[in-house]
Symmetry: C2
Subunit: 274 residues, 2 copies
């Protein structure tokens, strides 16, 4: 399931976007979450997004919504006909939902992960509506009150098309089947504290990983920028410039609790190889 | 310019949405930012939003964008034809931009202020493009690099329609003229620290304001939930329930520096009236 699909084809001098290649063998698995896994992870970790619906005058209408996610990744919306998007969906069900990862304070927002789920909103009734409403109230507690108002109705977005952007130069399209079948990453949304701890207290271990395992023996410093179930993304300073370095765990993690042991194992492996 | 336009017409039992009325005279101005001022404030304080554009297959397409704001409040976008929204704008210029205020950690996101600006995106060229690009690079520093790529172009959204939602039950539509003529509130986006300080260290003064100035002499506690150039929004606990209380400054403030003196003056006035 993991892959490394990305795409970048900016009309720019190649050197502007280049990062230094490894100068030594890379000694860990290079798996990373697939675009489908990235998309599922972003959607599962987030409770607000922006709906694009079609207004009566033909203008695409962007508006904030709270949403819940069914077990298969389809988003649930509860909208009021007092809101333009609620009236729009009654008339035209083609719609899309943009979901953006909350970035670190001060980080470049254009480097944040985000996803667009496009498809057809279906107003659900009966047992399906009960399940969707229960998921919505669990994700959006104030809905326990407003879901009883007569102007609110419950919708599930049937996802026909998924576009994931991981940040600069990392993006891909995902089929509906890939999206519905993928699992959200159990580590990524819970790793911010561990990443901070690695950078604050274990910069030496990160540098050893970049040098001994990541193919950059001439690195002079390294920071961790992300952890997921498959490994760590590092940025290393080298004489040739700043390099993106991937160090992968021996096996994918099943939960965030495994992150500490897997990182310690990488640090040991790096020091043994040094 | 200030007004108190709001609208709520949920199909719900009236008692569910009611808050207790004042039981004594209200002794301060009740002005608050107009919907146009609220909208300008949200847009001016924010650098990312979600664009709704129209995809080739007719689906409204929601996607994250960084934006800048011209002095009159029109948003500037810089988009790549590598992105679906960039290709969409080339084909169909009707579009809208949703901008959401960053809420306090843990706050109900549906109570966040947000605005949708709808209209027609115009690709700008020549001197106008230079000014727009300069505003964009100032707001989005990485654009200094990518604005030189051949796949990026600069757009200004001609705003035809504005919808502001201040949170539960506070919403209004704004004309283009009102939006372009309004000033962003100079206090609101810079008041979070002052509001925290009032709640942490001056709960007694807030309670005195709610009792002596805000029309709720039987209030038992009060918190500040917001400060703007015209005054403070308080929530007060009373025997009849939780009341929304507005205490206004003697005169609108021109900058956030004036907030401390204006609040001290309200506290003095409250204690003198007690």
């Amino acid at each position: 399931m993991p892959a490394a699909d990305t795409q970048s084809d900016h009309q720019a001098p190649a050197a502007v976007l280049a990062t230094p290649d490894p100068t030594a063998p890379v000694r860990t698995p290079q798996d990373r979450p697939s675009a489908a896994e990235e998309a599922r992870t972003i959607v599962a970790a987030t409770k607000t997004g922006t709906l694009a619906s079609l207004s009566e005058d033909g203008t695409p209408w962007a508006s904030m919504v709270a949403f819940a996610t069914l077990a298969d990744g389809r988003p649930v919306l509860m909208v009021s006909t007092l809101a333009e998007h609620g009236r729009n969906l009654e008339r035209e069900q083609r719609a899309s939902l943009s979901v953006v990862t909350a970035g670190e304070e001060g980080a470049d927002p254009l480097d944040n992960g985000r996803v667009t789920l496009a498809g057809v909103a279906e107003r659900v009734e009966g047992a399906e509506a009960e399940a969707a409403r229960a998921a919505y109230v669990a994700a959006v507690p104030p809905a326990a009150l407003f879901s009883t108002f007569g102007d609110f109705s419950t919708w599930v977005l049937r996802v026909d098309r998924v576009r994931w952007v991981g940040g600069y130069g990392r993006m891909d399209s995902v089929t509906t089947e890939q999206y519905l079948a993928a699992e959200p990453d159990p580590v990524l949304p819970r790793a911010a504290g561990a990443v901070r701890h690695l950078n604050d207290d274990h910069a030496d271990a990160l540098l050893a990983m970049a040098r001994a395992l990541g193919g950059h023996p001439d690195a002079t410093s390294a920071r961790c920028v992300r952890a997921d179930r498959y490994g760590l993304d590092l940025r290393a300073d080298t004489p040739a410039g700043r390099a993106s370095v991937r160090v992968g765990f021996a096996a994918p993690l099943d939960d965030a609790q495994g992150l500490r042991a897997a990182t310690v194992a990488l640090a040991r492996q790096a020091r043994a190889a040094d």
